[in-house]
Amino acid sequence: MNPLDLLRFATQALLQNRRRSGLSLLGVVIGVVAVVSLTAIGEGALRYVTTQFASLGSSIVNVSPGKNETTGGMPHGIGGVPNDLTLQDAIVLERRVQAVRAAVPVSVSTDIVSYRERGRSSRVVGVTSEFQQLQRLDMASGSFLPESELDRGAAVVVLGHKVAQELFDNANPLGATVRIGSWRMRVIGVLQERGQQLGMDIDDVALIPVASGMRMANKSSVNRIMLDLYPKSDSKPVIAQVKKILIDRHDEEDFTCISQDAVLASLSSILAILTLVVAGIASISLGVAGIGIMNVMLVSVSERTDEVGLLKALGANQRQILQIFLLEATMLSSAGGLIGLASGTALVELGNLLYPRINAATPLWAIAAVLGLSLGTGIVFGVLPAWRASRLDPVAALQGH
């Protein structure tokens, strides 16, 4: 049979029973929509995380005190932290590791930041002037912390957007003096609003020189050292170098050194696996839809038994009859696949309009898989009914038995 004739014949047969064809089509559509939209959400989450990391600066290496393996998830200090990270460590790392553009020691504490009668409990973060470039921070007004000697702590502060908003409403905070704990600090700048970023709210901080931060917390060590690498440097050799230098200085590996890349990579792979699992569950519904198609085709064959008998009497051979019914099943499933893809994509776009932050998009592999799967469903589940039709005894079939 000429493929075009086959196609027309199958189409006409499907259109003869619109409701039944439509319902089994719907089964496939639902399965495909599920796969398309769920993978799109997974992909969107992946992209979201990736761009978040990119805005943090992709080539950052974090050094924090304590060895993950030895502390075993216990709070720092309990697992044994004999040597804290010091300002001197930061200076040495910046000087001796070639790829490091800047080493930023960071001290973190929580304190009440207040202005006149208003106060707000915020994270008080001690950093250096290089922190601005490392975190790609933009100023809403004023300027960032000035360059200075690491151990010289001026009494100046840069406020995050939310802190400035809370304390000053719409008044200009520049030049005002705020209290942090028992310290008085002059506001020299306000950060631009940025929003929550991977659990760290950069809007709700007060940035001060690291020496001031350490003094305020009464500590001689820092909470971590952030290394900002030159663009396109490979973090692996840097980590090796950092480890070597610090082990030299501390006599043991009592710190953890990870690159942002590694965090991103492991997070991405978790998300990818999650997406795959969800898509796998969704594709089970395609299998269910396939059984629906098989059912419809079996009913169709038994209802059209006399037609099969007629086709045989007119001279159709078994292969031609097999082709006709197999094509009907395949058309149902692949039409379902296409409609499902279209409506799934529409759904995803609608979701993007409502929640623009997660830029959901169905990945190409999922589109290819879902189309292949729906086509395969029709073939696999269409074979049995079609084979049955082709084997009907023409005499009995003509009588409708």
Binding site: L15, L314, G315, N317, A396, Q399
Partner: protein, 265 residues
């Protein structure tokens, strides 16, 4: 020439065998018009199905133009039906979703004839049965007589040498039945071999020859024109077995149901 020799067709009905044909032998010349008559369950439809290569005998030979088709495989039988045999059914068997011309085109689709050729041949075939003005009508828009004429156009469109008709006028009123018989006579006059299964003496009378069957055997052969009253035929069946259904009152519907068993062996 069609020749069958010692045809047996046996069906397994549960634990006993039912012999639908018991060694039927018959020769039909090319261009002959033969009517098969007989009471319900006499095996006449079974014989027609065997002649039409829809079924295979358990025993015996079937020579269609000197070729033994009894032993052919499914595909070869399909090919034989496609090229050499045309069927006309009591209930027309048109595909309801297709138009008249599409119904007529169907055998040509299986034969792989190009669409333009197909169209032309289907149209001329429909013209030959007087339905040029009904090409685009679907079966439910046609009268019974028109449906059967579409079916006749379909049966002849591949130009087969042998036409087989099972109660072709069974579902028609007498006027459209007569039209159909006229068409069959025309086709016969055009040189085709015609085998018709019928209850209707008016149909049988137009045949060259009438073959009467009973209990799976041919019991009588008469010339068509000799069928003036049914009593002559009747004698055979009612004399020996008064319990047998009267042919006058036998309904066409019973015929097909009675002959076809549930499961062929």
């Amino acid at each position: 020439m069609i020749r069958v020799e010692g045809l047996w067709r046996t069906y397994q009905m549960g634990d006993h065998e039912l012999h639908a044909l018991r060694g039927v032998s018959e020769t039909i010349e090319d261009g002959e018009y033969v009517a098969i008559m007989g009471p319900s369950g006499s095996g006449k439809s079974t014989l027609l199905n065997l002649l039409g290569c829809l079924d295979s005998p358990n025993r015996g030979r079937y020579l269609l133009a000197d070729e033994d088709v009894a032993g052919l495989g499914d595909d070869a039988l399909a090919e034989t039906r496609l090229r050499r045999i045309g069927f006309i059914f009591q209930s027309f068997h048109l595909v309801p979703r297709l138009t008249a011309v599409q119904n007529v085109e169907m055998p040509m689709i299986f034969a792989g004839i190009t669409p333009s050729d197909r169209r032309r041949r289907a149209e001329s075939s429909l013209a030959a049965v007087g339905l040029s003005d009904r090409l685009g009508h679907k079966p439910n828009e046609l009268s019974g007589g028109q449906k059967q004429r579409v079916a006749i156009a379909r049966s002849t469109v591949m130009d087969p040498g042998l036409l087989l008709a099972d109660e072709p006028t069974g579902n028609l009123d007498s006027r459209s039945g007569a039209q159909v018989l006229d068409l069959l006579a025309e086709l016969h006059a055009g040189g085709r071999t015609l085998v018709v299964v019928t209850h209707d003496p008016a149909v049988a009378r137009r045949a060259d020859r009438v073959v009467v069957m009973r209990d799976g055997e041919i019991v009588k052969r008469v010339r068509g024109e000799d069928i003036n009253d049914l009593n002559g035929l009747f004698d055979i069946s009612s004399e020996d077995d008064p319990s047998k259904q009267d042919m006058n009152t036998a309904r066409e519907g019973d015929e097909t149901k009675a002959v076809v068993p549930e499961k062929p062996v």
